[in-house]
């Protein structure tokens, strides 16, 4: 099978099916992850170790046919380690820039909260600007450029929490959670997920991804729904149990994500259910400092969505 012979939408369906084959029983999380990337957003996966965070990131890169790099973040990682360094080039007598692992299409930043704030901010700046500046030269990052970061919220020793402003750079935060019994048995019976991946041709390529991203932003959204999104976002600013409500940027993110989600569902317009589907992953990490992932928080987010009537 060749990606170039089928239409991007068919390829997208196939990509989704492939991802489901790798990540068992997590179709909701997988869809959200794909939605995030199609909405040109960066993704934060937050979970305990061993539930397949890295596998998901790996599978995303593979299925989308993107070049990818993986950086394991540690406390002694320096910005230059991911951006790159200028080295002296003896033959030419000048300095030349040696690009770091960030110059890739999909960067997997593993355990992003282990790095020092300095390194974190270098990464997050690149995420926002989609370019890096070294000395006086600005280097554009490839297009598409995604960061899929993972973090373990329960291990606090020797970590640096991502501040709210930087959490805001991630369009979505999702978590995978433990698989259910049937899928866990299938997982145990099956082979290594990476071997499975290696034998699977990519369903998409960078051009197709760019095209899909553009298509997603053309999905129709009715004025009534924009009003619904605004009411939803504004409702978070009126509650006493939320310190800082959602920003307008969060509202924009909500609309982008809802469009991509609608496209993934094969629709050419957004319906209220699309907004509701992406509301929790878009809103929840912006409404706390990234530590509160408990049931209370989930209930609060659900209550927010329930508190606003859909347009009739």
């Amino acid at each position: 099978m060749n990606a170039s012979t089928t239409s991007p939408t068919d390829a997208l369906t196939r990509a989704l099916a492939d991802l489901d084959r790798i990540i068992l029983g997590k179709s909701e999380a997988v869809r959200l992850a794909l939605t995030c990337l199609l909405a040109r957003g960066h993704l934060l996966i937050e979970d305990v170790p061993g539930v397949g965070k890295t596998t998901l990131a790996h599978a995303l890169a593979h299925v989308l046919g993107l070049a990818w790099q993986r950086v394991q973040f540690t406390s002694d990682l320096l910005p230059a380690d991911i951006i790159g360094v200028s080295v002296f080039d003896a033959p030419s007598g000048g300095f030349s820039f040696k690009k770091g692992p960030m110059f890739t299409q999909l960067l997997l930043a593993d355990e992003v909260n282990r790095a020092s704030p300095k390194t974190q901010s270098a990464l997050l700046e690149a995420m926002e600007e989609r370019q890096v500046s070294v000395d006086v030269t600005t280097y554009r990052l490839p297009d598409p450029f995604f960061v899929v970061a993972t973090q373990n919220p329960f291990e606090q020793l020797g970590t640096f929490r991502l501040p709210e402003s930087q959490l805001d750079r991630f369009l979505m935060r999702i978590s995978l959670g433990y698989p259910d019994a049937a899928h866990e048995r299938a997982l145990l019976a099956g082979g290594d997920r990476r071997d499975l991946l290696a034998g699977m041709p990519p369903a998409l390529n960078p051009d197709a991804v760019r095209e899909l991203q553009a298509t997603a932003q053309r999905v129709h959204i009715a004025p009534a729904l924009l009003e619904y999104v605004q009411t939803l976002v504004a409702s978070t600013r009126q509650r006493s149990d939320i310190q800082i409500g959602l920003s307008p940027r969060a509202g924009q993110g909500l609309v982008r994500a809802a469009r991509a989600w609608a496209m993934l569902a094969g629709r050419d317009m957004v319906i209220p259910e699309d907004v509701q589907a992406v509301f929790a992953p878009v809103a929840s990490h912006r409404l706390d400092a990234g530590v509160n992932t408990g049931a209370d928080h989930a209930a609060l987010i659900a209550a927010l969505a329930r508190g606003v009537a859909v347009p009739i």
Partner: protein, 651 residues
């Protein structure tokens, strides 16, 4: 604080504020009980105390407590009717509600009780300084209602306050319409009986020293607005109780005495003015010198031209009066009048009687005799003072011959006695002299410290003539107020008096209060009719007011409706929405109704899960609706098609 307790704490604080606001009009023990229950509730709200666990018998005890408190209120007032008893009952019942308050509904009731207390407080007193406090508490109360009503108890306090402020601002025009046009028909239900207050000012008795007690009271007695200019200061004799009976020590007014009033001829131009009298708990009204006629139907004018009401004055009252500063009576004083006004007790003040005989022997003419007595007053070293010391029972003798010190009352008493001793009819008039001009408000403030006493004597051919012996002893009293004269001996008032800045501030505040009293508190049926006349109604009656009120009400509703039109328009479903709502209503017969936050597809799936046979049809219908509603602009015929499908939907 935990968010679940916020609504309760808000309701408690509102209750506390209204209890404190009305504290002056409720018995202290009621206020104490209410504040105790507030303190208890707040300690639970802030987590200092554990909430009580339900114990057996608690409800019975609580019922007993309720009965006990109702009985206590009954014992205190002998009734539960009326403003004072009703307020007390409301305060203790609110306190009890606060103690047993558990649910959100209970919090709502506590706020409701607080609002009732505010209403009672507004009935009890309408002073200007209470207005900002009142508004503040109402604002808080409405915010508390918003907090209580908001689902999940998670409304931000700031948002609640903003909401409440907006709602109150929107209600301002309605309040103005009610104020201006709601007919204030007589015998209103709000004309409640009031409790008794302390008597201030002058009474119908005057003993030596009784007036000097008033001299350092800075409180206003009344205020006067003149139609034309302010008359000369020395002419500002405000007549109050006229005293006609003397026992050698005390002058009093014998109510049983009256005689035919003499015919009177008014001289000079009339002075027109409006008096606003502070509550005195006495029946007297004050008027300048000789008043033409009774200013109101319910005011009685006696033979000696003293004005009094049927009831004690427990409220601020205003009345218009016309006075003349000069009069003449060419008639005769009636025989009865002459007998009454020359009566003296036997054997009292013998030295004064001797003095009268001595002077009368020299001057047989009445007017000359009066002049001679005044001359005696001037030349015999009498001293005008606030501290005249005590007198014996023969008070006039003490004043004239022993201490030689006296205040206006002493001199008036002595002069009147000297006149009566010589057979000249004389009476003591108490009242006020002068006043302080308030340039900020353009009116005269007459204070208790301006209290004065003088005499009137009957002269043939002139009638009753004012004689003020104090003017002879201390001529400067006519030009200056007591506070000015005795600046040093009046510690409290002098602070106000010396500091011009404070004095001006005081004038401004007094002016604002007057405006409030005249324009707002006393805005009565007559003022409403005046307003209607200005609006062009020929002969207004209460029906016009009703129409005006109804019109204003309609205008307000229209205004609110217009300003809410956008949200109203959004709430009003269009054709497509009506069709979808019809479909969901029909489906609600077989499945739970659609939740407000539920999108069409989610709802269809839920119905499908419950009624699989309906599933595919409902889902197709929902998908079609979603496409028409949220897709690019739907064509008319598509909507009509959808309506037909909804009609075909058989459940």
């Amino acid at each position: 604080m935990n968010t679940a307790a916020r609504a309760q704490v808000a309701a408690t604080l509102v209750f506390m504020a209204s209890v404190l606001f009305i504290a002056g009009h409720a018995p202290p023990w009621c206020t104490a009980i209410a504040l105790l229950s507030v303190a208890w509730r707040l300690s639970i709200g802030f987590g200092w105390l554990q909430p009580p666990r339900g114990r057996r018998g608690a409800r019975f005890l609580f019922g007993m407590l309720t009965a006990l408190l109702v009985a206590a209120v009954l014992a205190n007032f002998r009734t539960v009717n009326g403003l004072a008893a009703g307020t007390a009952l409301l305060v203790v019942m609110g306190a009890l509600k606060l103690i047993e308050s558990r649910t959100r509904r209970d919090d709502g009731i506590v706020v409701g009780v607080s609002l009732f207390l505010l209403l009672a407080a507004a009935l009890a007193s309408q002073s200007l300084w209470r207005l900002p406090l009142y508004l503040l508490i109402v604002w808080g109360a409405c915010a508390a209602i918003a907090l209580i009503a908001y689902p999940g108890d998670a409304l931000r306090t700031r948002t609640a306050l903003r909401l409440s402020g907006r709602a109150l601002a929107m209600s301002v025009p309605l309040a103005a319409a009610c104020f201006l046009f709601f007919p204030r028909v007589a015998g209103q239900f709000w004309a409640l009986e009031r409790g008794a207050g302390a008597t201030t000012g002058l009474s119908d008795e005057m003993s030596p020293g009784s007036i000097s007690k008033l001299a350092n009271e800075y409180d206003p007695a009344f205020r006067v607005r003149f139609a034309a200019g302010l008359p000369a200061r020395a002419a500002l004799y405000w007549r109050g109780p006229v005293l006609n009976s003397f026992d050698g020590f005390t002058w009093r007014r014998e109510r049983a005495r009256f005689y035919r009033a003499e015919p009177l001829e008014m001289l000079g131009d009339p002075v027109r003015y409006r008096v606003t009298l502070e509550p005195t708990w006495q029946p007297w009204l004050y008027a300048l010198d000789t008043v033409d006629a009774s200013p109101r139907r319910d005011v009685f004018m006696s033979y000696d031209r003293q004005l009094s009401t049927m009831d004690r004055i427990t409220d601020v009252v205003s009345y218009d009066a016309v006075s003349h500063l000069a009069t003449r009576s060419s008639g005769e004083l009636s025989t009865l009048g002459r007998r009454y006004e020359t009566q003296l007790p036997d054997g009292r003040n013998p030295r004064t009687l001797a003095l009268a005989r001595e002077i009368r022997a020299r001057t047989p003419d009445d007017a000359a005799y009066a002049r001679a007595v005044l001359e005696w007053f001037r030349t015999n070293g009498l001293e005008y003072t606030l501290e005249p010391g005590t007198t014996t029972l023969d008070s006039v003798d003490t004043t004239l011959f022993d201490s030689k010190r006296g205040f206006c009352g002493h001199f008036a008493s002595a002069f009147a006695m000297l006149m009566r001793s010589a057979g000249i009819p004389a009476r003591v008039v108490t009242g006020y002299l002068g006043g302080e001009w308030n340039p900020a408000g353009g009116y005269l403030i007459v204070r208790q410290s301006d209290a004065h006493a003088w005499t009137e004597i009957w002269l043939e051919g002139r009638g009753w003539t004012r004689m003020d012996p104090t003017a002879v002893v201390a001529p400067e009293r006519l030009q200056r107020g007591i506070l000015d004269l005795f600046n040093d001996s009046l510690p409290v008032a002098s602070v106000f008096f010396r500091n011009t800045w404070l004095r001006q501030l005081n004038h401004l505040w007094d002016g604002a209060n007057q405006w409030w009293q005249d324009q707002v508190v006393e805005f009565n049926l007559r003022a409403q009719f005046d307003l209607l006349r200005k609006l062009g109604v020929e002969s207004p009656d209460w029906r016009h007011l009703g129409w005006a009120f109804a019109l204003a009400l309609l205008a307000w509703i229209a205004w609110v409706g217009l300003s809410l039109r956008r949200s109203v328009a959004r709430l009003k479903p269009d054709r497509l929405a009506r069709a979808w709502l019809r479909a969901t209503r029909r489906l609600a017969r077989v499945a739970p109704p659609r939740a407000a936050h539920e999108g069409p597809m989610d709802y269809a799936r839920r119905v499908g899960a419950l009624r699989p046979e309906l599933g595919p049809r409902v889902e197709a219908l929902a998908a079609r609706y979603a496409r028409l509603r949220f897709g690019p602009r739907a064509a008319k015929n598509e909507i009509a098609q959808f309506e037909r499908e909804v009609r075909r939907l058989a459940v």
